[in-house]
């Protein structure tokens, strides 16, 4: 055992005890403090009465506005409105209003792994909406198909004061421990361990009215501590953080609100990676402003957010693509990185609605710049523009929708030691869709959909040969009729054309147009309340034409692939307890390659493959008593394949599976209920793809829960 292992082992035990003690003491300490303060504050004084719904929604929108990835790592906006959510009803008869413990233990098993778990949840509700929650959990996974086990332990504590204090105070703590042991095929073992603890105390004062402004203020302090080891590399950190958040808004006219937010966070501590240790820090801030309107027929918003961060941390030595290079001899393994990022996002959204006319528009632009001081990746720049336009309108029995999507983005990179930029990679997307829906006549409807989309990739200055276009066009028609006698008929037709086209000569030999057609008639017939029959037939055919197949240097041949599929299914319910499902699926497919074109332009093909697949399924379910169901299912499959060449090779494969099981769901008692839920199935299977571990196994999901 290495010193790191010994250290983690010691921490496992001590951490578990410390956290468990904290779990009991923290809510109690906070309770005492909270109740003392509560003596002086007998009434709720959140001061949020009378605020209008649209105003609050605008501010909430602002808080949840699309945060740029720049702030994602270091910027966690406190959800100030959730702190009092779910609070228990207040009682004036005592300090505690409810105390609930819920232990639960269970097991899950499937073809890949067995999982055992246990958890204890404690909820304590107090006067003034104050609540304390605690969750202790443990799980153990044992993998059946590989030498791998994973054990996890966790503890979560959460306490909030509700309305006991003039501001909402929330304290939370978390402990996660895991040990993941794996052995690869050559017997090389790895143990990945992680021991993570965090604690946060946050204070927020929501919806303070000052003149025309409605303001929410929040602040938080936190600490994160991790000890981890993977592939014999230590990855530890111990960091403390402080952040503050201000949201404010004002209604400037009827249905028009201006809202803004400011957020800043600072973090500092130490990080260890491998054998190196160094101080770490991160500073981030973001600012957003938005105008929100809701004026009779038009609803929308314009918002702009700017965010940035700088982070100093110990990192692996990475190449220009961010890959970790620890194998090359003589290369420094760990470096002290300084990463900065600036980002701006602008968004406009509008919806205009009159009667059955609905027009929607959404436009956005995101720009960001990310710079690494040490990593060979150097400087990265990105921009993304997006426009979605949609219009729908109805007239009589018809309704129509037209949508257009335009996307344009690029990214560029200047490697660490380079004097020139790499060149931009552009991606442009355009997409149109038209849908027409019509009630043709009684109980008969028609849907027609047409869509076309083009995606184009271009490398500036041809820094690579990957320029390409993909054009997709599809048309579908669906017709359906319901007869009163429980008979429904569907008819579907689809055509889809795809063009995959590489622009550069080194890649264009595989350029092709693929056209696929599908016809799918079917019906569902409810013959009686206990018998339903349905049949669906589908015929697909796809033609592939290689653009340059006529050139002598291009070794590609045009081809077609055809498949017919008849699916018949029957649902029988002889009694309210018994249900049977019977299904038969018949598939036949051909592959053929073009051999010649005759003088009239007609093509001749030779068949390469004929495949026939037949599969029968049977499933039975029987309810023995309330909450107890016996179930079982089986299938048998025959797959015959003729590969046609100079000689024909025939292969026939059989496969099948059967499982039997039961499902139990029971609850005893009402005041302190004991609940049992169990689904247990035994599987046996055979076939060419079925391995030893998949041929005979149990599937289970069973748990027992008690509430007191």
């Amino acid at each position: 055992m290495t010193p790191a292992d010994e250290c983690l082992r010691r921490r496992d035990t001590s951490g578990f005890l410390v956290c468990r003690t904290l779990c009991i003491l923290l809510p109690l300490l906070l309770l005492v403090a909270g109740s003392a303060v509560a003596q002086d504050r007998s009434r709720d004084n959140l001061g949020d009465q009378g605020s209008s719904a649209d105003y609050a929604a605008a501010i909430a929108d602002s808080a949840n506005a699309r945060a740029d990835s720049a702030s994602a790592a270091a910027d966690t906006v406190p959800q100030v409105y959730s702190t009092t959510a779910g609070a228990a009803s207040t009682s004036t008869s005592g300090l505690f209003t409810s105390f609930k413990n819920t232990p639960k233990a269970g097991v899950r098993a499937n073809v890949r792994q067995n999982n055992y778990y246990g958890e204890l949840t404690t909820n304590l509700s107090m006067r003034g909406g104050s609540i304390a929650n605690n969750r202790l959990n443990w799980s153990y996974d044992q993998y059946r198909k590989q030498d791998k086990t994973v054990e996890t332990r966790g503890l979560g504590l959460d306490y909030n004061t509700g309305s006991l204090l003039p501001a909402s105070v929330r304290a939370s703590g978390k402990w996660n421990w895991s040990e993941d042991k794996t052995v690869n095929t050559t017997g090389s073992a790895n143990v990945a361990k992680r021991d993570f603890k965090s604690g946060t105390v946050s204070v927020s004062k929501p919806r303070m009215q000052a003149g025309m402004f409605l303001t929410t203020l929040s602040a938080a302090v936190g600490i994160n501590d991790q000890k981890a080891n993977d592939q014999n590399v230590q990855n530890d950190f111990n960091e403390a953080s402080v952040d503050g958040h201000l949201q404010t808004g004002a209604r400037v006219a009827r249905g028009v609100t201006i809202a803004g937010r400011l957020y800043a966070k600072s973090l500092g501590g130490d990080r260890s990676l491998g054998t190196s240790t160094s101080p770490s820090s991160a500073n981030s801030d973001s600012m957003g402003i938005g105008i929100y309107y809701d004026r009779t027929v038009a609803v929308g918003r314009v918002a702009i957010t700017r965010s940035n961060f700088d982070k100093k941390y110990l990192d692996f030595n990475r190449d220009q693509n961010g890959q970790v290079d620890t194998l090359t001899p003589g290369v420094e393994k760990y470096v002290e990185e300084l990463e900065t990022k600036d980002a701006i996002s602008i968004e406009f959204e509008n919806r205009f609605q009159i009667g059955r006319i609905d027009l929607r528009a959404n436009l956005s632009r995101d720009i960001n710049e990310q710079d690494y001081a040490i990593s060979k990746a150097g400087l990265k720049e990105r921009q993304q523009d997006r426009m979605n336009l949609a219009a729908s309108f109805g007239a009589g029995r018809d309704s129509f929708e037209v949508a257009y999507v335009y996307g344009y983005k690029w990214d560029d990179q200047k490697l660490q030691d380079a004097t020139e930029r790499r060149g931009r990679k552009y991606t442009k997307d355009r997409d149109y869709e038209f849908t027409w829906y019509r009630d043709l006549f009684t109980a008969t409807d028609l849907t027609v959909k047409y869509h076309q989309g083009l995606t184009q990739d271009t490398a500036e200055n041809q820094y690579n040969d990957n320029d390409k276009d993909r054009l997709e066009t599809d048309l579908s028609l669906k017709l359906g009729r319901n007869w009163n006698s429980g008979f429904r008929v569907n008819l579907g037709f689809n055509w889809k054309g795809t063009q995959d086209l590489n622009i550069r000569a080194s890649r264009s030999s595989t350029n092709n147009h693929r056209d696929s057609y599908e016809v799918a008639p079917g019906y569902t017939w409810i013959l009686s309340p206990w018998l339903t029959l349905s049949q669906n037939y589908r015929l697909y055919i796809q033609y592939t034409d290689y653009v340059f197949s006529h050139l002598p240097d291009v070794n590609r041949e045009d081809n077609y692939n055809k498949r017919g599929n008849l699916n018949t299914s029957m649902v029988i319910k002889p009694s309210s307890r018994l249900r049977l499902n019977l299904k038969y699926d018949y598939n036949k497919r051909f592959n053929a390659t073009k051999t010649a074109t005759d003088v009239t332009g007609g093509s001749k093909y030779r068949k390469d493959l004929i495949q026939t697949i037949g599969r029968v399924d049977l499933a039975v379910s029987y309810t023995v008593a309330e909450g107890v169901t016996l179930e079982g299912a089986t299938y048998r499959n025959r797959d015959a394949k003729d590969n046609i060449g100079s000689t024909t090779k025939t292969t026939v494969n059989h496969a099948g599976e059967m499982w039997l099981g039961c499902k139990i769901s029971q609850k005893w008692g009402t005041k302190h209920p004991l609940e049992l839920s169990a689904t247990i199935k035994k599987y046996n299977a055979y076939g060419p793809s079925v391995t030893e571990t998949s041929s005979d196994y149990w599937e289970a999901d069973a748990w027992l829960k008690w509430e007191f």
């Binding site: 961010g322 007239a395 697909y540």
Partner: protein, 207 residues
């Protein structure tokens, strides 16, 4: 509102004409660019996707030629990816990074990888792996070991790992619809434990 009561068939006809007009006009805008004629000696020869083993071979061809369409078109619309422990615990990834790793994210990853590397040499199946037969439109490969070396220009990094791969016959062709990375395997020459493509997905998928 009284507006829709006033709309009658002539209005519908105008609306349909307008919509179809917009579609037709838009259709005219959406035409792909001219392509260069393929240069001799630089052919990418994929095999027909009529079996699971061919699809896996085609992924190898795609990697060796850094040809993104060759990867994307063999990934099922229902694609799911599960990382191994090392990828799961990669430092610096945002919370929830591995959730919902679907075809869209797989496409973004492979394009990003191919756009930023100089070359890749791959062997997607170790010679000792026995390919199981398909049956009923499904093929399950357990413990296949893949091996690839990525040349980024400034560094050359090797990835080698075992994975469980599920293939499915959808319509007329086979696709990869589930990829579970199990564990990084050892470098046969040095014995050093290498990383999986999960680590590569973590690096390039987040760029």
């Amino acid at each position: 509102m009284s507006l829709d009561r006033g709309i009658r068939m002539p209005t519908v006809a105008v609306m349909v004409t307008l919509c179809l007009g917009m579609v037709l006009v838009s259709g005219c805008f959406l035409s792909p660019r001219e392509q260069e004629s393929p240069s001799s000696g630089e052919q990418i020869d994929y095999v027909n996707d009529n079996s699971a083993v061919n699809v896996w071979t085609n992924l190898e061809i795609s990697l060796n030629n850094t040809h993104a369409p060759g990867w994307e078109t063999r990934i099922s619309d229902d694609f799911q990816y599960t990382p191994d422990s090392q990828a799961l615990n990669m430092p610096g990834l945002p919370p929830g990074y591995w959730e919902n790793w679907n075809k869209e994210r797989e496409s973004a990853f492979i394009n990003n990888l191919y756009d930023n590397v100089v070359g890749i040499i791959s062997l997607m199946r170790d010679p000792d792996f026995v390919v199981p037969d398909e049956s009923g439109g499904v093929a399950e490969w357990e413990g296949v070991i893949y091996d690839l070396t990525v040349d980024s220009g400034g560094s050359v990094i090797r990835y080698r790992a075992s994975a469980d791969i599920s293939f499915r016959l959808e319509g007329n062709f086979w696709y990869v619809y589930r990829w579970i990375d199990l564990i990084g395997e050892s470098d046969p020459e040095t014995g050093q434990t290498l990383s999986s493509m999960g680590v590569l997905r973590g690096t390039f998928g987040s760029n």
